[in-house]
């Protein structure tokens, strides 16, 4: 790696170089070397922690690799992928992932936007919202999951169950019933990340030009018209960006489901991430787990591709 070329060209050097006519080339070369030196540490680290492991992963996905039965290990080519396509649990986990991601993102954006519009018009108390909204966002999803699983949702102990009993619904097995468990994990993710959508959309709302609204009011546009014709179009880029960011995060969610239901009951809340994890580190089928991980990467790339295309399409 080239050492950073730190010596500046002294004034006389510039004159000499200009005289010989290749100042631009010399400077450009120095700039390239300097850039390479600055980029090298970060890019070597990224290569080592992302690109290299990815290549390794594609490799292991072509092997039968079982930590519980290492004697049966061996090269199997595309066998893991063939098994994957016929694996019902894979398709069901993919479906659970899509339902989980889709529902929580819609809820986060809808609630976040509604709340941002509400708070925007407040004369007092905005500070409280800004302060409280920070709290869920900075917490570890693992801790959030643990708190919800115990103090909020545990039957005959958690507050949600207490409220349900008092509302006459009776005690429910919030994490033991497939449908309730799915609703619970979606609610938990939505609880933690709606503040994010709220804060970003509130900041975008605050940056919208006030005079358009003034003009609309003078034209006697109703509140709904102002929202539909002015706010939504102007906020669109921010909303799309929030949708993209929230989708990517929901797709990579792991800790908040792992700590709450671990994918259960059965496979009711087993998103693709959890299936991959369980296959690899609970059932110890590393080879097949690698194929699942590759499938997960492909799904992530496809979805982010679609989202970014939507963003460009405007």
């Amino acid at each position: 790696m080239a050492k950073p070329t730190t010596a500046a060209i002294p004034a006389s050097g510039i004159a000499a170089a200009t005289a010989s006519g290749d100042l631009g080339r010399v400077l450009a070369q120095r700039e390239r070397r300097f850039a390479a030196a600055l980029l090298a540490p970060a890019f070597l680290a990224l290569l080592a922690t992302t690109t290299l492991p990815l290549m390794f992963l594609v490799g292991t996905s072509a092997f039968r690799m079982d930590l519980a039965m290492p004697f049966a290990d061996g090269f199997v080519g595309f066998e893991n992928y063939r098994a994957l396509l016929a694996d019902e649990r894979f398709w069901s986990s993919l479906l659970v992932s899509l339902i989980y991601t889709g529902s929580t993102v819609v809820l986060q954006v809808a609630l976040g936007l509604a709340l941002a519009l509400l708070v925007m018009d407040m004369k007092r108390g905005q500070g409280w919202f800004r302060l409280i909204a920070i709290l869920p966002v900075v917490l570890s999803p693992a801790v959030v999951g643990m708190i919800w699983r115990t103090f909020m949702l545990a039957p005959e102990f958690g507050i949600v169950d207490f409220l349900a009993i008092n509302a006459g619904l009776g005690s429910k097995n919030w994490l033991g019933d497939p449908l309730l468990a799915m609703i619970s994990v979606v609610v938990i993710h939505t609880w933690q990340w709606t503040p994010f959508a709220f804060m970003v959309l509130l900041a975008s709302l605050a940056s919208l030009p006030e005079d358009i609204y003034e003009a609309a009011r003078l034209d006697r546009a109703s509140a709904w018209q102002r929202f539909r014709r002015i706010t939504v179009p102007l906020l669109r880029p921010a909303i799309v960006m929030v949708v993209i960011m929230r989708t990517m995060v929901a797709l990579t969610a792991f800790a908040a489901i792992f700590t709450v239901t671990a994918g259960g009951p059965g496979t009711a809340t087993e998103i693709l991430n959890l299936y991959t994890y369980r296959k690899s580190f609970t059932e110890l089928s590393i080879g097949y787990g690698s194929a699942l991980a590759v499938a997960l990467l492909v799904v992530t790339i496809l979805i982010s591709g679609v989202l970014f295309a939507l963003r460009r399409a405007k």
Binding site: P4, A8, P10, F34, L38, L39, P41, A42, F43, A45, L46, A48, T49, T50, L54, F56, L57, L115, L118, G125, R130, I132, A133, I134, L135, V137, V138, L139, A142, V143, M146, I147, T150, F151, A154, F157, I159, F162, P195, M199, V200, A203, A238, M241, M245, T252, F254, A255, F258, T259, N273, Y277, S280, F281, I286, A293, L296, L297, T300, S304
Partner: protein
């Protein structure tokens, strides 16, 4: 009641419900952590009780102390932050301000690495670190944490570097200052705000990480997010102690969140505009 009054009351009620919903799980954990074993199990749940620090004393200084885990979490989070910033600041500067071939590709590469789902790469991490004996070590975990902290910090910082006027650098060069000196003396002070935001986010993400920690940690290096599980088992949950551990795990990030409130909102919105952001 006039329509206006109804509106005001409705807005107040909805706001109150949202604030309560966000604050309650956290406040409730804090309250439970201050109860004794009898109060924590009381039904209906007790809002008024004699607070005690028993649970904290037990989890900090008892037989299964989580003090070592808190220390692990701090070492991991601080180590990740320091190394990430040392690498990300120069890289972000180069990506934002210097001309070189392949710059566009380099930027795209950083963005792409940021999108990697952690579960997608945990298998090779586990196999490789096991092979070189780095499972359950600080260097192993911190190295792996760079995979998500670096792309995030680089992208965040690039947007700050891009905002500095070019004239500042040019003036410094013309005065005969070297490139490195210019970067250190002139440019970096201009992006102090961005550096603060990055530090906050990298620390938060490293402190909160769970998946990599579960797979790559062991008995020596076990952050508190993983150690928390010791208090929940099939036979019984140690409610007050679990609450105390949760509160201890939340404390540093909540303090950081409240103190650096402005930085966090800024980081989130910069990310939203530029397309960064991870978890």
């Amino acid at each position: 009641m006039t329509a206006r009054r109804i509106r005001i009351v409705a807005v107040f009620a909805i706001s109150f419900i949202f604030l309560l919903a966000w604050a309650f799980p956290i406040v409730w954990s804090v309250l439970n952590s201050l109860k004794n074993d009898r109060d924590v199990l009381a039904y209906p749940p007790k809002l008024i009780f004699t607070p005690t620090l028993e649970a904290y004393r037990d989890v900090l200084f008892g037989s299964a102390s989580i003090l070592p885990n808190l220390v692990s979490s701090f070492i991991i989070a601080i180590g990740t932050t320091v190394i990430t910033m040392l690498m990300a600041v120069p890289a972000a500067y180069a990506l934002a301000r210097l001309r070189f071939r392949g710059k566009k590709f380099a930027g795209f590469y950083v963005l792409a690495t940021q999108m990697l789902p952690p579960v997608g790469i945990i298998i090779p991490y586990f196999l490789i670190l096991r092979n070189i004996g780095w499972i359950d070590t600080y260097q192993g975990i911190i190295l792996i944490y760079l995979s998500f902290s670096l792309p995030f910090a680089i992208w965040l910082l690039v947007s700050y570097f891009e905002d500095i006027p070019f004239e500042m650098e040019e003036a410094a060069y013309l005065d005969g200052a070297s490139r490195l000196r210019t970067l250190w003396r002139i440019i970096i002070p201009q992006v102090r705000g961005g550096i603060a935001v990055s530090i906050v986010f990298v620390f938060l993400n490293a402190w909160n990480e769970f998946l990599f920690a579960v797979v790559l940690s062991g008995n020596t290096v076990r952050p508190v997010t993983v150690a928390m599980f010791n208090f929940v088992s099939v036979e019984q949950t140690l409610w007050a102690k679990l609450a105390a551990v949760s509160v201890l795990a939340m404390l540093p990030v909540v303090i950081l969140g409240v103190v650096a409130q402005k930085n966090i909102v800024k980081g989130l919105t910069v990310g939203a505009v530029k397309g960064g952001g991870r978890r």
